[in-house]
Symmetry: C2
Subunit: 159 residues, 2 copies
DNA sequence: CACACATAGTTGTCGTATCAACTCGTCACC
DNA sequence: GGTGACGAGTTGATACGACAACTATGTGTG
């Protein structure tokens, strides 16, 4: 609230830079572990977990897009790649009238279990066991405020 | 600290998802403002600010790469695009022996000033004026801990 | 039944990020 | 003074994400 131009103090600027840098370090460390230990990208993991949580492990493209807050074409492209890796199957629905569905393939289910464990362990080691309870509370309350302020819905990646 | 597998509690998982979502909302809002109000992408802005802060507004590709923690080829590609927009010039150094340098072009300098103001105002409105002082302190202390834990150097984008 | 219209999904294009290969100049050493 | 290693920079291949155009499958109304 210094002035009317929205300028920042040097301290503010440094805080912002530290914070974005810390976020980036954390995210890339988690991604790196997923990639090197399971051969799964963050995007793939997001899709796998979303499907895994769904009833019958089946969803429509649009459901995945809404859950992850992705563009539907991004989902389609991603599914094409994952289908070629035999992680998911595009099925002729049957259930919901006549639309197509996407299901976890056996290999996808196996990978999901493996990656979920790696992901959880990574989060604990590089985040939850590093931050103090007070820091976690502050981060969480800020997150909630930010989200409710934006009003938006979806959930996104990083199960 | 539940067990030896690194599993997370449901609360932890929700906290993590809220937090990554909040980060994403904040970052995309700032990026969106930069893009729509100045026609500058986050990557372009990072390069502009890095050059602007440098002595003589001139750096080598490698300096930019280290400062932003980018791959040098990413910098080269980015500079090619920005050069075609007349935001930067590749100069025949002169100073440092015979290597090439990168300088802010006049249009780049103008844009930097404009974008810096927009960026600062955006940060104030969507971040500093939203978070409480206590939250900011906690976020900052966590960031510092995270960075020193990683030991890493560079500074990255988002001036 | 036909027509328009909405919804779901795919495809193509472009800009961007990563990786590896390549060029070119500098320097050390024989 | 050649030659080989190294550092700096560029380029090309490939993958990914955003956006828009297109296809195909409902749904509604005359």
């Amino acid at each position: 609230m210094a002035d009317t131009t929205g300028e920042l103090t040097g301290d503010d600027r440094e805080l912002w830079e530290r914070w974005t840098r810390a976020q980036r370090l954390l995210a890339s460390e988690v991604d790196r572990r997923l990639q090197t230990r399971c051969g799964v990208s963050k995007a793939e993991f997001s899709v796998l977990v979303t499907l895994f949580r769904a009833p019958d492990e089946e969803l429509r493209v649009v459901d995945i897009a809404e859950t992850l807050d992705w563009d539907k074409s991004r989902v389609a492209h991603q599914l094409t790649r994952m289908e070629s890796r035999a992680l998911v199957d595009r099925v002729e629905s049957g259930a919901r009238g006549r639309r197509t569905g996407v299901r976890l393939a056996p290999e996808g289910r196996r990978l999901t279990a493996e990656a979920t464990a790696v992901h959880a362990r990574a989060l604990r080691e590089v985040f939850f066991d590093v931050a103090s309870p007070a820091q976690l509370r502050a981060i969480d309350s800020w997150s909630s405020a930010m989200i409710s302020r934006a009003g938006a819905p979806a959930r996104d990646d990083d199960a």
